[in-house]
Symmetry: C2
DNA sequence: GGCAAACTTGCCTGCTGGGCAAGTTTTGTA
DNA sequence: TACAAAACTTGCCCAGCAGGCAAGTTTGCC
């Protein structure tokens, strides 16, 4: 394994992370609309133009955390046996991811909660989830048998991701209930016949 | 019933429709990025500023058709008996809507197909579907019994809408297969246990 | 007819994405 | 170690865009 993927790559990752965190922090305490791309770039000690090299807009920067989490979930799914029921595989990956997140980073949920209510963000979150949908569908297609594999894989991927999204959204509105609880209840409600 | 909701309202509806159709037409033959809001407004004989009074962006104008279809589906759902299985109700409404659409307006699918491939549109389509999600969840909540009604209603609404979206998207990529077929296969694949 | 509310329009401002080219840093190779 | 190529950053630039405001116009209602 390449422990260090080269200086260049490490710097890029650091810049991306700095921009993401600056975006999140500024959005939280100035409101999503109150913050400009320029302010985010400044806070990350980078030019406005460089921001554009990393993200196509402030919302994408804000949701970069979600994107990373979803990619991690894809990994968790891929490394599971291919001879199991797809929904079982998905559920297990989701719960495992939730545990990982919950333990190391309670801050994540807190930040989320401070952003809730900004309605324009909701649609960008939906879009963020949609990005991995194709990739997940491709993975699932290899695990299905029978007719309509393509369509069924896409449906399964979409249903799963949208359920995760709803669970996270619902959880931000009920801070008292453990996230793991909400996720498993949501997945149970969506489980296909 | 108010047959004519007043001249003012009729004019507004006409303007909105004109803008929508102009947006769709121009987007189809100049590409989504190649068309400006100004061009759309011109084509609808209205000022650029007025466009902004109706839609918040060209994508919203393009997807106004979807929005209307989804609102129609909400109607179809609401007018069904409340003592039936929710998924049965949803499925029936979806199929009924598909029949309505398919018969009267084959043009709709044709236009869609000409827009496919523009990736930026996909996320806006997702967002368009998300708009009615809350409303549908509220309707479904009244039809559920047991624990976690709120969460389960949101999950059900999200799963159903995302399934419809996937069916439509998939259908644009397989023009040979009847839409009704795709929709019912997709709904069958997503049916909760 | 005539008034009030709603709608349209033009004007304006600050923000945005992204093309381009010059300057800087990292990488690979010799 | 030297140096050329590739990758990245930055400033400059431009056209497009959302939306506030105020003046003008149309519609609804008495």
């Amino acid at each position: 394994m390449d422990e260090t993927p080269g200086l260049r790559e490490r710097k890029k990752a650091a810049t991306r992370l700095a921009l993401h965190e600056a975006a999140l922090r500024l959005a939280i305490d100035q409101g999503v609309d109150g913050v400009t791309v320029e302010a985010i770039a400044d806070a990350a000690n980078v030019s406005r133009r460089t921001f554009s090299n990393y993200f196509s807009g402030k919302e994408e920067a804000i949701f970069h955390g979600d994107t990373m989490r979803l990619r991690r979930m894809l990994e968790l799914i891929r490394e599971q046996p291919t001879d199991e029921q797809p929904w079982t595989v998905l559920t297990r990956a989701a719960l495992r991811l939730t545990e990982e997140t919950d333990l190391g980073n309670v801050e994540w949920l807190i930040r989320r909660r401070q952003l809730r209510g900004h309605p324009s963000l909701a649609s960008h979150q939906v879009a963020a989830y949609a990005v991995v949908e194709r990739e997940l569908a491709a993975e699932l297609a290899g695990r299905l048998r029978g007719d309509d594999v393509g369509l069924r894989a896409r449906v399964l991927a979409a249903v799963f991701l949208t359920t995760m999204r709803v669970a996270v959204q619902d959880s931000t509105e009920h801070p008292d209930r453990p996230l793991l609880d909400v996720v498993s209840a949501a997945l149970a409600a969506a489980a296909p016949a």
